[in-house]
């Protein structure tokens, strides 16, 4: 059974000034599935991820060419409002970046500006549910009005995950969401990702091969700005086609 394609990248190149960071990438990302991006540091995973919700627009020297279609619509078309796009395509960053506001407001902000709650009690409900799913509710429920920046690194990351899912995005982009988390919080985030897959499209960048193997159905291996191999996660981790993929996932010198 072949799944619907949610995001389609066609001939994407990205430049930072003279640096050619992404080279002719073509990938179709399945709907209601988890896709993992793996590859050595600096190979362009974060850069490509940021193309999917036009986060690279905020970097002056960054230039993106080629097409990225979200449900067959070109997200770089003039008619597309990047702010609206980012409500549909949420993101959790490599470094946690809570707003300098209360824990509650960090999560309530998105649903408020997008009018997702009719009243205060609905908003309270969204905040609680989002924080529960992000596996941090019990730790913050008694301090919701203290600043988000006062949390530990791992707690901040889970707060950012709660914030990202509060607007119920169709696509969730996660850039190393577990790098600052302990094994229990990591397992909880992985459980959340698995749960999100039923209704959303998730793309996760991870340096943990075991995490990629555990949470994703599709895996793309990036190397020096190119997608060297893209396919079913089971296949990539048991019998990859390309020797560069095999060297990387088995921990050999490439």
């Amino acid at each position: 059974m072949s799944k619907d394609i949610k995001i389609s990248a066609k001939g994407v190149d990205v430049f930072y000034g003279d640096t050619h960071a992404i080279k002719n990438v073509n990938v179709d990302i399945e709907d209601k599935a988890v896709t993992a991006f793996i590859g050595p540091s600096g190979c362009g995973k974060s850069t490509f991820l940021r193309c999917i919700n036009r986060m690279n627009d905020t970097i002056d020297i960054c230039r993106v060419t080629g097409d990225i279609l979200l449900e067959n619509e070109d997200i770089y078309a003039k008619s597309v409002d990047p702010v609206q796009l980012r409500a549909r395509v949420g993101m959790v960053f490599q470094k946690p970046n809570p707003f300098p506001k209360s824990i509650y407001d960090n999560v309530a902000y998105g649903p408020t500006i997008h009018g997702l709650a009719k009243n205060k009690s609905e908003l309270d409900e969204i905040v609680e549910q989002s924080l529960r799913r992000a596996a941090i509710w019990d730790e913050v429920k008694d301090r919701l009005h203290q600043p988000g920046t006062g949390l530990s690194g791992g707690q901040q990351q889970r707060l950012c995950i709660g914030r990202a899912i509060a607007t119920a995005p169709e696509v969730l982009l996660m850039d190393e969401p577990c790098s600052a988390l302990d094994p229990i919080a990591t397992a909880q985030v992985e459980e959340l990702i698995d749960e999100l897959r039923a209704s959303y499209t998730v793309v996760i960048v991870t340096h943990s091969m075991q995490q990629a193997a555990r949470v994703s159905q599709k895996t793309a291996f990036f190397h020096l700005g190119e997608v060297v191999e893209y396919g079913d996660t089971d296949k990539i981790f048991t019998n990859p086609e390309d020797s560069r993929t095999e060297s990387y996932i088995t921990g050999r010198i490439g």
Partner: protein, 239 residues
Amino acid sequence: MTDKEHIVSAFDRDLAAVQTLIMKMGGMVETAISDAARALELRDVELAEQVRKNDKQIDALEEQVASEVARIIATRSPTAGDLRTVLTVLKISGNLERMGDYAKNLGKRTSVLSEMPAINGSGGALRRMVQLVSLMLKDALDAYIQRDVALAEDVRRRDGDVDQMYNALFREFLTHMMEDPRNITACMHLHFIAKNVERMGDHVTSISEQVIYLVTGGLPEEDRDKQDKTSIDSALGKV
């Protein structure tokens, strides 16, 4: 598959060590089979006893392989070719252990048979069958070390010859038993020996299939010809 080294060199050492255990096991099983065959042919009860005793070491090696594999999986989370290496090591050690058991059983029956009158002609045919299986085992282990798919395929094909030799022996033992009921006990033992050698062939075939899986990531597709027809073709029994 790649033969590049791991960044963590201890991982290479772990994989090499467990494969060395397999080769050691393979060598011991080869010896057990040829000693058992020689003991049967020469009615050498002491040698047969030795084969039975040595089987304990083969069993111990299998356990050692299993615990090494468990440790590698737990500590190194192998993937891709590394994963296939540890999985095949585990399966092959199981195949070798069973082959060791059959050799041991051959030793036991040799002790019993040495008390009985010899059955004409069967010794040579059994010896040829054992030689065939021994050579298959040697080639399968070589194919494993060399990652040689063509050789592994060839070993698989040769299992058909073993099955045919078993069919021929089956008929021969039936004839002897019909000729003289006093042959029945010895022939029953000899038949079990032939059957066990035929099963050794099946285990060698399984080892060859593991070699193919290790290298290609897939198992061979078409089913081998089933040449042992004694179970499906009752007419074979009517001589």
